[in-house]
Amino acid sequence: MATQEMKSMSAMEQMKPHAEEPVQPVEEPASAVELSVVIPIAERYDDLGQIHAQHSAELRHLGLSHEFIFVVDGSMKSALGQLEPLKREHPEIQLLAMNRTFGEATALSVGLERARGRRILTLPAYFQVEPAELRHMMEQAADSDLAIAWRYPRVDSVLNRIQTWFFHRITRLLTGTKYHDIACGMRVMDRKVAREVHLYGDLHRFFPLLAYQRGFRVTEVQVRQSRHDAGRRIYSLGIYLRRMLDILTLFFLFKFTKKPLRFFGLVGSALLASGGAISLYLGLYRLFGAGAIGNRPLLILGVLLIVLGLQLFSIGLLGEIIIFTHARNAKDYEVQEIE
């Protein structure tokens, strides 16, 4: 943890993680608690006192020893205003705040690093799922590495449902997975999942897919959606654009991580072929004296397509070199057991 600077400030612990380099997890501590509850707090949050009270009541009911870890993404005055009294009341709660906004994925991974429990429950900072469903969730999670909540049936607005449907449609199409509600923040995981899945950028939304890709058993558990989650959500255009780029990133991670030429080569040669066809057509057109082509935009299109095709192809080759030089350290596979 040499890259982290820790100072204690009143009831708070301030952390400064380096978003670029993943912090090495601390050596496995002797696990005293059965379940760590990690709650990252980013843009959207409900009454955090209520979140804590209702969920910890459910967990006490289940007889699980647990710890709560709240990670605040940046200095959010009102969230901290809610959490500081909570910490005074329950000193065993871990309260972490990052010095600036790093994004929810970083907040989540900081929380996961701190978790000492044998298993880890992540919760959104707002009511997505009825807290009473926690019991069902924990039961179903017993024999999988990662259990994710699937809010079904949905009670929220039609607009939200359309967005969700569309988002999952594309994700499923591009990654070949079959999950219904990957973005729901309620997840129960074995601690080895938290240790192995690396989160950065906006990838916390795709946590189940990343875990699946590393070969963990992921199951979906149907739970009742909270009625607090029903409000209509319309995001700015930029958010939708970013979501699409995230899916695209994931698509690459899933299909082409170790074979960039497969993708760039395919797209590149298609462009090259169409550019070649256009240029050939124009060349013949002029050779046989059918007219001038110097004033036709098609000429520029044809030549540009050839150049773009060759460029994409060569970028794919460059990608192959990068992969080759790193392949010795980045394994393709995860071994479950050796006998």
Binding site: G215, I321, T325, A327, N329, E334, V335
Partner: protein
């Protein structure tokens, strides 16, 4: 490299419950002469059928059998790579788990290996597959691979191969490179030979391949060509690609100039467009080469070499100087 065993047999398995016990019996029959000095390494590539329970039964009866079990299906290359990594044998034999390879060929391969080769490939001279969808594409692909990589063997796709353990362990395998193991092992300076082996038609289970992989294999060949030829000097490779673009661009530029002087308005537009784009392409390729050089020089493996050369210590000072493949200088010189 210290080896505990004389021989390791590496077998990737994916849903082969019908074949695995028979396969084990045949391997044992072929290798019994090694006694305790051989091991069989079954790599389970995330099978969903009864393969793993059967393997565990076999292991209980015969401790020479070892199992590497993947969390999920990662493909044949990954299974082979994992098998090579965990194999402890001085020599390693790889083979398919579908009984199409005959374990009885193992002694033949090993005898060839002992003649002084590092990689001995099986050649399914009398292949028992459909001609149009399996054998013809294979003949074409092997011919192209031979031309492109300079490793002219008849049958790259045959899984039955024997390796000197130290050599194959130094070869980096990933993606879908199992078809190109001979070409990749030339990076380490391996001496390659091939021998004719038996091939049986498939008895149980289904073939997991079809014809739809032609384009993938074509792109893979380009990739292998580049890696085997230029991975440690990308600036050269991209530089070579950029030369024709730049030269053609210059020619087009000269033509454009002359057309401008001659007053041909349309011809001058065409040729200058072509000239500019070709010159841009040349510059683009050149700069990609420089980025590639950066990638190679800053890779995580910096303390190691991107390619591990095989080294032989020469005993006889009067030996043929050509025998001296690589000298170990402790620098990257040997590979550049």
């Amino acid at each position: 490299m210290s080896s505990e065993k004389a021989l390791s047999i590496v077998v990737p398995l994916y849903n082969e419950e019908a074949n695995v016990r028979l396969l084990y019996d045949r391997i044992r029959a072929a290798c019994e002469r090694y006694g305790d000095a051989f091991e069989v390494l079954f790599v389970d590539d995330g099978s969903s059928d009864g393969t793993v329970p059967i393997l565990k039964q076999i292991r209980q009866q015969d401790p020479r059998v070892r199992i590497v079990k993947f969390r999920k299906n990662y493909g044949q290359t990954a299974a082979m790579a994992a098998g090579f990594e965990h194999a402890r044998g001085h020599n390693i034999v790889s083979m398919d788990g579908d009984l199409q390879n005959d374990p009885a060929d193992i002694p033949t391969l090993l005898a060839k290996l002992d003649e002084g080769y590092d990689v001995v490939c099986g050649w399914r001279k009398k292949r028992k597959d459909k001609f149009l969808t399996r054998r013809l594409p294979s003949i074409v692909a092997n011919w192209i691979i031979g031309r492109m990589t300079g490793v002219r063997i008849h049958d790259n796709g045959c899984s039955l191969k024997a390796f000197r353990g130290a050599v194959i362990k130094s070869v980096t395998l990933y993606s879908e490179m199992h078809r190109f193991i001979p070409a990749m092992s030339t990076l380490a300076g391996a001496r390659i030979a091939e021998v004719v082996v038996n091939h049986h038609p498939r008895q149980f289970g289904e073939s997991k391949y079809g014809l739809n992989r032609v384009w993938k294999v074509a792109l893979d060949i380009v990739q292998i060509k580049m890696i085997t030829g230029f991975a440690v000097r990308p600036a050269l490779w991209f530089g070579l690609l950029s030369v024709p673009a730049t030269l053609l661009g210059l020619v087009a530029l000269v033509i454009a100039g002359s057309q401008y002087l001659a007053g041909s308005a349309e011809g001058w537009v065409i040729s200058s467009t072509v000239a500019m784009l070709l010159l841009f392409l040349g510059a683009h390729l050149l700069s990609l080469g420089i980025i590639g050089e950066l990638a190679v020089n800053t890779g995580d493996y910096r303390p190691q070499r991107p390619v591990l050369p095989t080294i032989r210590e020469l005993q006889n000072p009067d030996g043929d100087p050509r025998d001296e493949k690589h000298e170990c200088h402790g620098t990257d010189e040997a590979t550049r």
